[in-house]
C-alpha cells in the first residue's frame, strides 16, 4: 500500500518538501466539496499512502532525504518541522559534506558506490515499517550531479533489491538554458540509465512550469519556490487518493501500480507527461466557476496539439483521418503536428464528477494503431475536490509530447560531444566516451520509436 518517496539532490529535496506540504494542506482544506464522512475516508487513505502515524500525532512523511551536501537537507527538515502539519522522520536522511559538483560521473561512480550500503540500509529500514510496499517514487533533477548521477545509480540498485516493486522517477527537466552548463550531458546519461531500470519517467519541464507561473498564476517575480509549488500541485493531483472504480467509494489500493498498468504497455515507451486544468492564482479562483464540458474540451485539445497549458492552445490541430498510411503524418518538428498517444489517464476530481463526459479521449484516432482505445485510455474519478479547485482534471499521458525537448537535449549534448568539450571531467571519474555513445544510442532509439508511432 505504501510508496517510499526518495528525494535526491537540491532540487529533489526542495520539491519533495512542497509535495508533502501540498498534500497535507489539501487534507486540511475545508472546501473538499464532499461530506464529512467522505472527507475522513479520503484523509485516512492519503495518510496511509504518504505518512506514518506517530505517537505525537504529527504525521511523518514516508520519504527519505538524500543529498551529498548538508545545507538543503537541514533547511528542508527544519521547514517541515516548523509547518506543524507534518514532519520528516528523525533518521530519514542521508547527507555528506561535499556535493557532486554538477558532475553526473561523480554522483554515479564515486558517491554511488561509496554510500550504496548506507543508503540502501536506510531505505530497507523505511520499507520495514510498512505492511506492504508498492513501490518507489524518486524526485530528482537531471541537470546536476547528485539527483542525476546518484539518482541513476540508486534507481538501478532499487531495481535489483526490490524486483517486484514499481519504480517511478519524477524527473525535473532543466530550463533550456541558464542552470547548469553540462546539463545536457548529465541529462542524456541520466535518461539512458533510467530507461534501463525504471518503470516510468514522469517528466516535469521547468520551462513549462515557469510559463504556467507567469501566465496562469500571474506571478511577477518567479522564484524556485513558485515553480516547485506548481509541480507539487500537479503531482498531488495525480497521487492523492482516487476511487478505485466508477461509483465505488473505495479508494484505490495501489495507485502507482494501476498508473503503470494503464500507461506503460510497452517497455520502449515510458516517458510520461502531466497536464492540469484549471491552474490559476488563488485570487482568481474565487471569481471563477467551471463546467466539465469546457475543461475537458480544453484538456483534449491540449493533448492533441501538445500544448502544455490552457493558454495558447492551437485549435487547428485535428486528429488524422484513420486509414491514412503513417508516412503521410506530418513529421514531429512541424509546429502544428498532431500529438499521437500510446496511452492516457485522466483523473477528475470534484463536484459532479460523474457527469463529466470523457468520450473525446476515446477516439481511436488519438492513439497508436497497435492499441485499442479501451486499453489505451483510463479514467479515475473522485468526488472529493483537490487543493481548493472545485473541479479539476489531470492528464497523465504517454505520448509524443516529449519528442521535441528530448531531441533538443540530445542535439545539444551531441554538439558538445563532437568537440569533446568537458568530456575530461567525466573520464576523470570513469565515465568514458564509449559510455556517452551508448547513452546517445539508447536515446536516439527512444526518439525514433516515439517518432514512428
Amino acid at each position: 500500500m505504501s510508496v517510499v518517496t526518495v528525494q535526491l539532490g537540491q532540487c529533489g529535496n526542495q520539491i519533495g518538501y512542497e509535495v508533502f506540504d501540498t498534500i497535507c494542506r489539501d487534507l486540511h482544506n475545508s472546501q473538499g466539496f464532499c461530506c464529512k464522512r467522505e472527507n475522513e475516508v479520503y484523509q485516512a487513505s492519503c495518510k496511509e499512502h504518504f505518512f506514518n502515524e506517530e505517537r505525537s500525532g504529527v504525521p511523518v512523511a514516508r520519504a527519505l532525504l538524500i543529498d551529498m551536501e548538508p545545507k538543503v537537507i537541514s533547511q528542508t527538515l527544519l521547514k517541515a518541522a516548523r509547518s506543524g502539519r507534518w514532519k520528516y522522520g528523525q533518521h530519514s536522511h542521508f547527507c555528506q559534506k561535499q556535493g557532486s559538483g554538477n558532475n553526473w560521473a561523480y554522483g554515479y561512480s564515486v558517491h554511488g558506490p561509496k554510500h550504496e550500503e548506507s543508503i540502501m540500509n536506510l531505505i530497507q529500514k523505511e520499507v520495514e515499517k510498512y505492511d506492504s510496499l508498492r513501490g518507489f517514487s524518486t524526485i530528482m533533477s537531471m541537470a546536476g550531479g547528485t539527483g542525476s548521477g546518484l539518482g541513476a545509480f540508486l534507481t538501478q540498485n532499487l531495481r535489483d533489491a526490490y524486483p517486484n516493486s514499481f519504480i517511478i522517477n519524477q524527473i525535473i527537466w532543466p530550463y533550456g538554458t541558464g542552470e547548469v552548463i553540462v546539463q545536457n550531458y548529465n541529462s542524456i546519461l541520466t535518461l539512458s540509465h533510467l530507461y534501463r531500470s525504471s518503470d516510468a519517467l514522469l517528466v516535469h519541464e521547468n520551462d513549462v512550469v515557469h510559463k504556467i507561473c507567469a501566465k496562469l498564476m500571474n506571478i511577477k517575480q518567479i522564484s524556485f519556490r513558485d515553480v516547485n509549488q506548481v509541480i507539487a500541485h500537479q503531482l498531488g493531483s495525480v497521487f492523492q487518493p482516487t476511487y478505485s472504480s466508477e461509483g465505488s467509494c473505495q479508494y484505490r489500493r495501489n495507485p502507482l501500480g494501476d498508473l503503470m498498468a494503464s500507461l506503460v504497455p510497452h517497455p520502449e515507451f515510458k516517458m510520461l507527461g502531466l497536464r492540469n486544468i484549471p491552474q490559476m492564482s488563488e485570487n482568481s479562483l474565487s471569481y471563477t466557476t467551471f463546467a466539465w464540458t469546457g475543461l475537458l474540451k480544453h484538456l483534449r485539445q491540449m493533448l492533441i496539439s501538445n500544448a502544455k497549458m490552457e493558454e495558447g492552445i492551437d485549435w487547428q490541430v485535428r486528429p488524422p483521418l484513420l486509414g491514412l498510411p503513417a508516412l503521410e503524418k506530418v513529421p514531429h518538428n512541424k509546429e502544428s503536428h498532431f500529438n499521437t498517444s500510446i496511452a492516457n489517464l485522466v483523473i477528475l476530481r470534484g463536484k459532479d464528477v460523474h457527469s463529466a463526459d470523457l468520450g473525446g479521449f476515446k477516439d481511436p484516432a488519438l492513439y497508436t494503431s497497435w492499441l485499442q482505445p479501451s486499453d489505451a485510455f483510463s479514467e479515475w474519478r473522485t468526488h472529493r475536490a483537490f487543493n481548493k479547485y472545485e473541479k479539476s482534471a489531470a492528464l497523465v499521458s504517454n505520448s509524443q509530447f516529449l519528442l521535441k525537448p528530448l531531441d533538443t537535449v540530445i542535439g545539444k549534448a551531441w554538439n558538445m560531444f563532437a568537440s569533446k568539450a568537458y568530456v575530461h571531467q567525466y573520464t576523470k571519474f570513469g565515465i568514458e566516451e564509449e559510455d556517452f555513445l551508448d547513452s546517445f544510442t539508447v536515446l536516439e532509439q527512444v526518439v525514433a520509436s516515439y517518432c514512428n508511432l
Partner: protein, 476 residues
C-alpha cells in the same frame, strides 16, 4: 559542509589576504549576530579554545570562542606578515601558520621556486598538513599571489606543485595578480611567464587580476563619492573598495587596501553560495565543472557589480537589470579585457541577495544576443542564487567568464618576455640558481604560446555559421 584553506604567498598575496580576512570577519559578523560558530563560519575559520595548552582544541558547535583563520601565510621577507601579526587581525593567526625569512627572493622566480622551494618544502608540507588536519572535509585551497615578483611568483607556484602532490583530491584555485605594463620590476615578464607554465599545468582554475583594472575601479568610485551631486551619497559600508565596519581602522589602511578589498570581495562572493543557503546553490567544484571545458583553458575573467549602493533610500535603487548589464561591460572586469567583443566558452553568474530565478532568466535572455558563445556551447550559462547578500547591499553579482578576451593579456606578456629574452637581459641572475637552465625559459614560453594558440583556434570560429554535426542514425 566542506572547508577551504587560504595560502597567501609573498608581499602581494599577504596584503590581499589581510583584506580578505578582514572582510570575511565583517561579513560573518553582520550575518551571525548571535556569535554562534556555524557551518558557514566553519568554511574559512576554526573555533578554538585557546585556554587549553598547545594547539588549542577545535570546538565544533556552540558559541564562538576564538576564531582562527584556515590559512598559511608565507613570505620570504618579514614586513607584511609582521604587520599582520601586530595589527588588529593578529588573533586569528598564530605562529604555527607562518613561514617567513628575511632575505627576500630578489624579484627572481627561480630563487622563490628553486632555492626557497627546496629549502622550505618540508616545512611547507607540514604547515599545510596541520591546517588540513583541522578540516573534516577539505575541498579547496585558495592560493593568493602575484606573478611579477620572486616569492609569490616562484614560491607560490612551487606550492601549487606541492599541493598537487600532497593533496591531489583538493581543488586548487589561484588568484594571480598579473603585472601591469609600467611595472617597476624589470624581470617581471620572466617571472610571470615562468609562473604561467606552472599555472597552466597545476591549477584547477585561475582568477587573473590586473592592478590597472582595480585602480580604474577605485578612481571611478572616488569620482562618484566626491562628486557631491545631490542624491549620490554612497552607503560607506557598501563600497566594494572599503572595509567600513571591519576590524581594521581607517588609519591602518594601506595604500593598496582599497584595491585589494576588491579582490577580497571577489573571493567572498565566489564562495558565498558554498557557505550560505540559497535556492540554487553552487559549490566550488561546480565552478570548474561548468567553466572549464578543456583542462588548460581554466582562466576565468571576473567582474563584480554593483560597486556601491547609494545611501539615500529615496533615490530609486539602481535597477537590478543595470547590475547585470554592468557585469559584462569592460569597465567592471578585474583585468583589462572586453568579454563582450570576444568569444565566450562559458559564463557563470553568481547572484546574492533578493533576486529570483525569473530575474536571472530575464537578464540572460536580454543580454545573450549581444554576446558571442562558442558553437558547441551556445547556452553556456551557469547560475546560482545565494539568499545572503554582501554587507551593505541588497543584491550583488559576480560574473565569471571563460572568454578569449584573456588572450591579449597573455600575448602582451609574451611580447615583453621576448623583448628581454632576445637580449638575454638579466638571464644570468636566473641561470646561476641551481637547477635553472635555459630550457626552463624555452619550455615556459612554449607553454604560453600553445595556450595562446588554443585561444586563437577558438577565436577563428567566432561568427562562423554553425553546422550541427550529423547525429547518430538509428535503423529500425
Amino acid at each position: 559542509m566542506a572547508q577551504s584553506v587560504v595560502v597567501q604567498v609573498g608581499q602581494c598575496g599577504n596584503q590581499i589576504g589581510r583584506c580578505f580576512w578582514d572582510l570575511a570577519l565583517r561579513e560573518h559578523a553582520a550575518i551571525n549576530k548571535k556569535g554562534i560558530y556555524d557551518d558557514s563560519l566553519k568554511n574559512f575559520f576554526r573555533n578554538v579554545d585557546t585556554r587549553r595548552n598547545g594547539d588549542g582544541v577545535d570546538i565544533s558547535k556552540g558559541k564562538i570562542r576564538s576564531l582562527k583563520a584556515r590559512a598559511v601565510l608565507i613570505d620570504m621577507e618579514e614586513g607584511v606578515v609582521n604587520e599582520i601579526l601586530q595589527g588588529p587581525l593578529k588573533d586569528i593567526f598564530d605562529s604555527k601558520q607562518l613561514i617567513t625569512n628575511v632575505s627576500g627572493s630578489g624579484n627572481n622566480w627561480s630563487v622563490g621556486y628553486k632555492v626557497f622551494g627546496s629549502q622550505y618544502r618540508d616545512q611547507i608540507v607540514e604547515k599545510l598538513r596541520q591546517t588540513a588536519e583541522h578540516c573534516d572535509c577539505l575541498q579547496c585551497f585558495f592560493i593568493i599571489h602575484s606573478m611579477g615578483g620572486g616569492t609569490g611568483s616562484g614560491l607560490g607556484t612551487f606550492i601549487l606543485n606541492v599541493l598537487e602532490d600532497e593533496f591531489p583530491e583538493v581543488y586548487r584555485f589561484v588568484t594571480s595578480v598579473f603585472p601591469s605594463g609600467e611595472d617597476d620590476v624589470i624581470t617581471s615578464p620572466y617571472n610571470s611567464v615562468l609562473a604561467m607554465k606552472e599555472l597552466n599545468e597545476h591549477a584547477d582554475c585561475v582568477l587573473p587580476i590586473e592592478n590597472e583594472s582595480l585602480f580604474d575601479i577605485v578612481s571611478r568610485i572616488n569620482q562618484m563619492v566626491t562628486s557631491g551631486k545631490p542624491g549620490t551619497t554612497v552607503k560607506p559600508e557598501s563600497l566594494i573598495t572599503l572595509n567600513e565596519g571591519g576590524i581594521k581602522k581607517k588609519l591602518q589602511e594601506k595604500p593598496f587596501d582599497t584595491m585589494n578589498n576588491i579582490v577580497g570581495n571577489l573571493l567572498l562572493n565566489l564562495t558565498s553560495s558554498a557557505r550560505f543557503e540559497g535556492s540554487l546553490n553552487m559549490d566550488l567544484n561546480e565552478i570548474t565543472m561548468n567553466l572549464v571545458p578543456f583542462p588548460q583553458l581554466h582562466y576565468l575573467v571576473s567582474s563584480l557589480t554593483p560597486l556601491y549602493t547609494l545611501a539615500d533610500v529615496n533615490v530609486p535603487p539602481r535597477r537590478l537589470d543595470q547590475m547585470f548589464s554592468d557585469a559584462f561591460s569592460k569597465d567592471h572586469q578585474l583585468i583589462q579585457a572586453d568579454p563582450k567583443h570576444s568569444l565566450y566558452l562559458a559564463c557563470a553568474l553568481l547572484v546574492r541577495g533578493n533576486v529570483q530565478i525569473s530575474d536571472l532568466r530575464r537578464n540572460i535572455e536580454r543580454l545573450k544576443s549581444a554576446l558571442h558563445f562558442v558553437s558547441w556551447n551556445q547556452e553556456g550559462w551557469k547560475t546560482s542564487l545565494c539568499s545572503v547578500p554582501p554587507v551593505g547591499h541588497s543584491h550583488s553579482l559576480l560574473a565569471l567568464a571563460n572568454n578569449t578576451c584573456i588572450k591579449p593579456t597573455f600575448i602582451e606578456l609574451k611580447k615583453r618576455f621576448t623583448r628581454l629574452y632576445k637580449k638575454k637581459a638579466h638571464l644570468h641572475h636566473y641561470l646561476q640558481v641551481d637547477g635553472m637552465e635555459e630550457s626552463c625559459f624555452t619550455e615556459a614560453v612554449s607553454s604560453l604560446s600553445s595556450l595562446i594558440e588554443s585561444y586563437n583556434e577558438l577565436d577563428v570560429t567566432k561568427g562562423l555559421p554553425i553546422h550541427d554535426p550529423l547525429r547518430l542514425n538509428i535503423v529500425i
